[in-house]
Symmetry: D2
Subunit: 277 residues, 4 copies
């Protein structure tokens, strides 16, 4: 028996579920799990269906197209195991969490390579027999540096690029190469404290809660579709450094949870938002 | 346009979604929101579908029966507005929260009457022009007392009975009259601290979190299907009284959230569990 | 035996705790609970001490001044029971929660009066035999309207003014009359979504968590010292209206918790922040 | 300048804070951070004071004894860096999290050695150049096995022993060797689901929240003083395996947080409880 996940994103219309599940049924496919969502404000229909069957007919997608509204985005994908390249700077917490979870099987991810603009994390990565590429930005302008990184990434043909505390802003030229494939962890409960030094900002503002946000990267810094957010309570006794220490714990936890959702094909991006089934 | 919610609970079988949604579609009904769940361990299928249409044919349920496995439990219900009788003893927090939420429209509930085995909450209830019935248990044995309460309840024909800190255990003879219709708030994060004085137990155990549980009442005390649970962090500095004060806040919040789910027809009971869509 | 709370806010200096507790001890006062905090970044010392004794000498504060750095802010206050005036517009949830908690003793507050710029909440307030003053802003400019409200408030000499969803911005001239005495509930997890329609903003941004913030009001809108914040998880399936419904639950809960802290004299304001013991 | 933490646990008495801080002040020690707690129900006083000074006089503890009630437990310790031995069986998540946090400096712990009754985690441990000792329980009775483990532990003279999913129950003879020094992570929100297979129990009970508990080990299984607890929401759609997967995330997070508190000398054990400052 094979399993696949059918993802549909199209204009809403009457009878869609009947038609879609009818095609699946007539193909001898059993529905293991099914989720739908209609954004009534935008008249848009989303569906994620886990299917099981002896074989998946090569005509399945064509049969579905015949019953779906035009301009639909329909995909038949495998949940689980994704190939990623991780980009880092100097901080170990997010990278370390992914390394351990990948090693222990808690996160179904193949880390093809890690790229760093500093070298400090190389020894950690190599403990796990994963290639580390040091691509310094020194003496390079931004587009030269990005070109070198893109070249490295291309060798590995990853499903996703994970920015695990990569502390440089990517240009639109970079981002456009991997639409909805670059996942960033933002050290803040977006949209609060956009930009640099969020824990210092949080400390100055005297907030009682801090958080982190995992999101897809788009051209606008800190503005891509949010996948996952979480927070922890803090109080007046936390210095900016202690806020940062606690923040790192939330960051790594939120990033891992977001990756789990993405790997499992639970996330559909639309506009600047996500549906997370 | 009318709206109804179709609730189905049956043995799992291939093609159920297609068949069910096909019947809806051929009846001219539009699916506003759809949720399914299959308990693979037990081979059981659950579905909740919000339908909209000009009319709902009287033959709809019969048409569905024709495509469903036998022994299914299928209901066509109205989400929203339910009629409840609330039972109380002396504590105001859960009752007060429901009164205010009902008054302000935050909870779509008609409070038909409140029954108390003490009189202290009568003035509060009467502020809201709701009948309060004082049914003391003094000089009565348990079955005599319950008989008097049941008689009162019967007058109002409620959809649900809410035990808003009613501090007496109901007998199986009482409970059987209203299967899956009696909702209790238990002053503990079940299954911890079953029974009396849970906050004292929690204090003695030195726990760092306390919680509350809203559940349907079955014959076994504290053992019915759980609808909603929530917790709050506490620490060593809380006395048993302060734990109780914080606990009351969680209790009322959990009970209101459970009621909201039940009113909205989001909850399906099966065995000793719930599916909460 | 009497109980008082000593609140000290001064420049940090060596030996402060010894000196302060020494004065208390030599006055025959027993320390029931003691909390200190030093903001090392600003060299500032904060202390909150619950004291118990047969009598509190009239010279106690003078004796403390003799051992404290100059320009200290030292107060001897009673924890518990505070007198408040509540200001509202049309929404019942925060007001209702405070009314019920005051009625049941869960919040140690005397609601001297409620002032509304609309009349819709008058019947609710009067159920609890509390005066409601309708002060419409129609045909008045802002300063005329505020003058009428201030006149009403002055009659009651409240300890605090609670803005329980009062939907108008107060002028600096108003705020300056009650420094660190006006408590607002902001319908957002500040500093995200400052300003109007935060739930619509949150929906558009596709956030996965929403929250609320209780803070003292200062001249800058949405910028006063934060007392309490809390959040709840949400997802793509929430409409802007459903976000608002859930948000109201967080709002009332956060406001009540903030009031409990303020009433208990657990909060010290300094700069644009709070110490919350 | 040196820093030390003074920990005091004694009968409550008037003037304790003045006397204790007086001794500190007369020794030229500055108080960086101070926390007290009185358990009024038991008449017991707890204090944790971070002190800074040029030198710490050898007579400091004797001077303190002169002002404290008899039978006090007074310690002058260093916050930070502790030496631990970790005991494991087969699961990598808790061990992996501690390894990474130790490596990156997020947890101020020296992992002297890891002892496993299975060999599967040896390669992971050795990546970090930490000795792994495989001490199988096969063909040994319990006391023989424990004797071999105790011998290994003794070589390293650890401050604490961390049971990072060590799946065997320790005998009282073992535990008594390291009183309040053995920290366990229990795969449940104690006191719910005591004993084996808690996630299966949780699934059968249909709970809506699962959690984990870090506690010191005493003679009674699952009954030692709780250091830290945390929970996550779950729903009907989680299988027992998925509950376990989410549970592992809470387990590792709770264990790391508990270790951080213990390392920082924030935890005082008394009776079967803890004070966590």
């Amino acid at each position: 028996m094979q399993r696949k996940v059918l993802i549909i994103d199209c204009a809403d219309a009457p009878g869609l579920i009947t038609k879609i599940t009818g095609v699946c049924f007539s193909n001898g496919l059993n529905i293991i799990k099914n989720s739908e969502f209609v954004d009534n404000a935008q008249g848009r229909f989303f569906m994620r269906t886990e299917l099981e069957g002896e074989t998946f007919s090569t005509s399945l997608l064509a049969e579905l197209q015949a019953v779906l509204p035009q301009k639909n985005r329909t995909r038949l994908v495998d949940a689980g195991k994704k190939r990623v390249v991780i980009m880092v700077t100097k901080e170990a917490h997010c990278l370390g969490d992914i390394l351990i979870k990948s090693y222990s099987g808690a996160l179904d991810v193949e880390i093809a390579a890690v790229i760093g603009n500093h070298q400090v994390l190389q020894p950690l990565v190599e403990k796990f027999d994963i290639p580390f590429h040091y691509v310094s930005h020194q003496d390079l302008n931004r587009s030269e540096h990005e070109a070198m990184i893109l070249e490295r990434i291309a060798e590995y043909a990853p499903d996703y690029i994970v920015l695990a505390k990569f502390m440089r802003v990517l240009t639109p030229e970079f981002v456009i190469q991997y639409p909805s494939q670059i996942i960033n962890i933002h050290h803040s409960f977006l949209p609060a404290f956009i930009g640099a030094a969020p824990y210092k900002q949080a400390w100055e503002r005297g907030v009682k809660i801090i958080g982190a946000t995992a999101h897809f990267v788009t051209n606008s810094l800190d503005e891509g579709p949010i996948i996952k957010q979480d927070v922890i309570p803090v109080d007046h006794s936390y210095s900016a450094d202690e806020l940062a220490r606690c923040g790192r714990d939330v960051e790594k936890s939120v990033l891992s949870k977001a990756l789990h959702l993405v790997i499992n094909e639970d996330v559909i991006v639309y506009g600047n938002k996500t549906v997370v089934f």
